[in-house]
């Protein structure tokens, strides 16, 4: 398993390197890296390839029939619209089943004939022997299975226009872990290939058995959050199919397209979906059918509940009006204004900083109490919040969750990176912009918690998350190959955000904002890679930052600098009465130490008791450096990184040393610690 993981990661690096080369970046480091990756790939076993290794059938386009040439996308299309889904679904609340018919029109833009096509069947993850559940149990031995957790998606019929019945050829594959019990990826074999430039229309009937809400999908009482619920074709990416199994830590990857969805639900249900409501029909059987359409998105999710309370408003941005529709659950009335304020201000900030929000709506779903497993999730134009009646306003959790999920409209929704393989590109960049936006809206020191006696900022929260498990995995690790969920969260969210905040201190806030802006403008409605992101940063910063990326992005080194020694000694120390008064000369030393493996140039500020301040620059390459001064003054303090640029430093406390001790911070903690202990001791004595 370890070998497999390593090989898979290296294979990802291979592609990262190749893309960098293809972009013709005249950078020695990248070329060197690509060479390394190529060498690594040469020893990778084909069976350990991370992506679905369904090789394109070598049928020449000349031999293949071309009965269905693709039609060009309409003018104004924002994406390449490779897929067009049309789904007619009926929700049965009694049995928690969805019966649906799906028509998928898939355009072969791969440049070669395709005969074997993979499909995601995500709902099959919620079965006791699946990869998802197995990994969840591995991460948390206390994880218990209960019957309500069961979820499935079953294809009852499948055919394609001109190809006939495909059901017999449908079979499950396990490209990531060879777990034969995992049924989250299925593959079909067409009798004849779809030629390059052709298209194929699939007709699929399927039944979903919804689990009690888990991984942001399922039911809870009368609430339904329906995500990843239909057979979804994989992505042809970098010359092969990319269709991973659903893992405990993974999210999703899909092609852009159009959705035309009809949902039949009980007539008293309020429905929200990731699309525009095109029509509503009342049926004779006590149900209603709602018709939604969406374009230039890569997923379609929806929610339904008779208990929703609908709040609407309109926000006007550079792209025109946007309908905000918030579906609130009972008991969360106190959060109405918090959600609305956050979504509007976040739309504003993203619009100004990064680019236009091109859709005409955003739906916010507020899961009901106990439904936190449906909370904090992003789908195109539909996001879920997370709140509770008892969360005070000083704790900005609902705001943070909503800002974060809206940010995904940009980082995942439009800049549609591969969440399976490069989760840092969506979750990490989104965590960075979350810090920026929340700091902008709520203050740099109080963006997470703002109490009169205690505060917490967003960047501190991200840094703390990073310090939870800083050195197991690099950012580039495939999401399911992290050592555990803690490392996944720590690195993907916390380290990426902290690394980008540190980078911002190097290149400047404006430069960083321009880089993120360019990242969005250049790669929206595409599937860029990590190399694309790093190249964009280099390009906008106007400097080669690969030395930093190799450590912060590809490496697991930890950054920890310390002031090891501060000492001032009279020059005439050997005298019986060394001179110590005014004008006395001292030889002073400062020793700085690089404890961690991460090398980072930094500054050292040394203060003397005559008011003089010495500034040094340390490249950080040597493990330690001694600075010596001969002055008529003694050192009073030495501080590495005096401007506090290096947020990646795991220990801020050892970055400085003051000759004179200041016991006030310790005393403050001791006073409050003693107070709490006294009180707890008295509570214990209650038994007497």
């Amino acid at each position: 398993m370890a070998e497999f993981s390593r090989a898979s990661r290296r294979s990802c690096m291979l592609w990262t390197g190749l893309v960098a080369l293809a972009a013709a970046i005249p950078c020695y480091a990248l070329a060197h890296a690509a060479q390394q990756y190529s060498e690594t790939a040469a020893v990778s076993s084909p069976s350990a390839a991370p992506r679905t290794t369904t090789a394109a059938t070598p049928v020449s386009a000349a031999n293949a029939p071309t009965p269905f040439p693709i039609t060009p996308n309409p003018p104004g299309a924002l994406s390449d619209r490779i897929v067009a889904y049309s789904i007619d679904a009926r929700l049965d609340p009694g049995t928690k089943l969805i019966h649906a018919q799906e028509t998928l029109d898939w355009r072969n833009t791969t440049g070669q004939p395709q005969q074997d096509l993979p499909f995601h069947l995500y709902l099959n993850a919620f079965q006791p022997t699946s990869a998802w559940i197995t990994e969840a149990r591995r991460s948390n031995p206390g994880f218990e299975w209960k019957p309500e957790d069961y979820g499935s998606i079953q294809i009852t019929t499948m055919d394609a226009t001109g190809f006939g019945d495909l059901k017999p050829s449908l079979h499950f594959t396990q490209p990531d872990d060879n777990n034969r019990d995992d049924h989250t990826v299925a593959q079909i074999h067409l009798p004849t290939p779809v030629p390059a430039g052709g298209h194929v229309v699939f007709h699929i009937q399927f039944d979903d058995q919804l689990p009690e809400v888990v991984a942001r999908t399922g039911y809870l009482r009368d609430f339904y959050m329906i995500g990843q619920w239909f057979p979804k074709i994989g992505v042809w990416w970098h010359g092969e199919w990319n269709c991973h199994q659903f893992h405990d830590n993974t999210e999703f990857f899909a092609d852009f397209g159009t959705f035309d969805v009809r949902l039949t639900v009980p007539k008293n249900y309020i429905v929200g979906a990731g699309g525009d409501l095109a029509g509503e029909t009342a049926n004779n059987d006590g149900t209603k059918t709602l018709h939604f359409t969406a374009a230039d998105t890569h997923d379609f999710s929806w929610t339904a509940s008779p208990s929703f309370r609908v709040i609407t408003s309109t926000w006007r941005g550079s792209g025109g009006p946007v309908l905000i529709r918030i579906l609130m659950s009972p008991g969360h009335e106190g959060t109405d204004d918090r959600y609305m304020k956050t979504i509007k201000e976040t739309l504003d900030t993203f619009d100004q900083w990064y680019g236009q929000y091109p859709y005409d709506r955003i739906t916010v779903v507020d899961p009901p109490h106990g439904g936190f497993k449906a909370g904090g999730m992003e789908y195109p134009t539909l996001i879920t919040g997370d709140t509770d009646r008892l969360i005070p306003r000083s704790l900005r959790l609902p705001e943070i969750v909503l800002e974060h999920e809206f940010g995904h409209q940009y980082w995942y929704g439009m800049v549609a990176t591969n969440e399976f393989e490069e989760a840092w590109l969506d979750e990490g960049i989104n965590s960075y912009t979350e810090v920026k936006v929340m700091d902008h809206l709520y203050g740099a020191h109080t963006s997470f918690l703002n109490l009169p006696f205690a505060t917490l900022s967003e960047d501190e929260a991200e840094r703390m998350m990073y310090l939870g498990a800083p050195n197991y995995d690099p950012l580039t690790q495939f999401a399911w190959q992290f050592v555990d969920g803690s490392s996944y969260g720590s690195i993907t969210y916390g380290k990426t955000a902290t690394a980008l905040l540190t980078l911002e201190k190097i290149v400047g806030e404006d430069t960083m904002r321009r880089a993120i802006h360019m990242w969005f403008q250049r790669y929206r409605f595409t599937h860029p890679t990590g190399a694309d992101f790093l190249n964009t940063l280099n390009e906008v910063a106007g400097q080669n930052l690969d030395w930093y990326f190799k450590q912060a992005v590809s490496g697991t080194q930890v950054l920890d600098y310390a002031v090891e020694q501060v000492q001032s000694d009279p020059l005439d120390w050997y005298q019986k009465h060394p001179s110590t008064g005014k004008g006395a000369q001292y030889r002073s030393y400062v020793v700085v130490h690089r404890i961690g493996g991460f090398v980072f140039p930094t500054d050292l500020e040394v203060k003397f008791d005559d008011g003089e301040v010495a500034h040094e620059t340390w490249d950080g390459h040597d493990r330690w450096v001694r600075y010596t001064y001969v002055k008529p003054a003694r050192i009073i303090s030495a501080e590495i990184d005096p401007e506090h640029k290096i947020l990646l430093d795991r220990n801020f406390y050892n970055n400085s040393y003051t000759v004179r001790a200041d016991a006030r911070p310790r005393n403050k903690l001791t006073v409050w610690g003693t107070f709490v202990r006294e009180w707890v001791f008295q509570l214990c004595a209650w038994l007497t």
């Binding site: 009482r221 020191h445 505060t455 917490l456 006030r664 107070f675 001791f681």
Partner: protein
């Protein structure tokens, strides 16, 4: 016995209890000092290690000027210098034992309402220590039904919370459960407080008898005893938490000495209230004891003949005395 059942000129047990605590305030100061010293020593190791990190670091300012939760968390998440929780458990147990031991002496001082010599205090403490230790077993038994009731509320809360569309009913049940359990815990404490008072005042060697007698006493005087106890509890809680809130919200974060002072005043007040309860209960019981008279010997009612030869009877008919004794509501004297 309720508040309007005292003799004119006799102070209410609440006031008398406060007066007793004031007169014997040395006890409160001693226990407060032990509480403080134990708490300080329990955290001394932690304080030392924290000092090693903070005393010479400029980054410590984030904890002094305001209070950064991130800086605090970082302090406790450094692998090179792990900071454990100190000796909290050991000192908590030690304080528990000290209080258990001292309770006998405290109640004896309150009973006699005179200053005990050190020897007398420790003699009384030692005399009742084992009885009170045994009493804890009964108290733990009494807590079982409270735990069951709490568990029922917890389960009910979970069920209603998870099945109801709105979270309101579940939260309400949870809140009711908390109040019910808190009241039951206070009643249990009051019950065993009275058992301890009876043990000391009556010098009752049988713990079981004290516990049963205290139960009867509480049952028959629930209103006056409960109200006596709850009033002090509520006052202690309100003052403690309001003071804490005011200080946290409006106190200057860098005023360490003042923080210490305010914190200790709150702790002292909380502690004094507990002793106030003890003293008031002792006063209440002593008055109750005074009001009680032995059960009268009832003379059988004579049967008389209504015939003319014996009518009228020679002696007036005896009037039975009121049935007053331990376990019944005394009348006003």
């Amino acid at each position: 016995m309720t508040s309007n059942e005292y003799n004119p000129g006799e102070t209410h047990p609440l006031a008398s209890g406060a007066s007793v605590v004031w007169r014997h305030q040395r006890i409160v100061w001693w226990i407060f000092a032990i509480n403080l010293v134990f708490a300080f020593w329990a955290g001394r190791g932690v304080s030392q290690r924290v000092g090693d990190i903070l005393d010479h670091s400029l980054a410590a300012g984030r904890l002094l000027h305001g209070f950064s939760i991130g800086a605090y968390q970082e302090l406790y998440s450094m692998p090179q210098q792990p900071i454990s929780g100190g000796a909290n458990q050991e000192f908590a147990i030690a304080f528990f034992v000290v209080i258990l031991f001292a309770t006998g002496g405290v109640l004896e001082a309150y009973r006699r309402d005179e200053n005990l010599t050190t020897g007398e205090f420790f003699a009384a403490s030692g005399k009742f220590f084992w009885r009170f230790l045994r009493m804890i077993v009964f108290l733990l038994l009494a807590l079982i039904p409270v735990s069951i009731i709490g568990a029922i509320f917890f389960a009910l809360n979970g069920h209603v919370y998870s099945t109801n569309i709105s979270d309101g009913p579940g939260l309400l049940i949870g809140l009711i459960g908390l109040v019910v359990v808190a009241v039951l815990l206070m009643l249990v404490r009051l019950w065993f407080d009275m058992a301890e008072v009876i043990t000391v005042v009556e010098n009752q060697p049988k713990v079981r008898r004290s516990v049963v007698e205290a139960w009867r006493l509480l049952w028959r005087n629930f209103g006056s005893l409960g109200w006596l106890y709850f009033r002090i509890s509520i006052l202690a809680d309100v003052v403690f938490f309001a003071g804490l809130w005011l200080w946290l919200w409006y106190g200057p974060s860098e005023a360490i000495a003042l923080s210490f002072l305010v914190g200790q005043v709150l702790i002292l007040f909380w502690l004094a209230c507990r002793f106030w309860q003890r003293a008031a209960e002792t006063v209440w019981y002593q008055r109750y004891q005074t009001l009680s008279v032995p059960a009268p010997v009832l003379v059988p009612a004579p049967t008389w003949n209504t015939s003319a030869s014996v009518w009228p009877p020679a002696d007036p008919m005896p009037i039975p005395l009121p049935e007053v004794g331990p376990g019944t509501e005394p009348e006003e004297s």
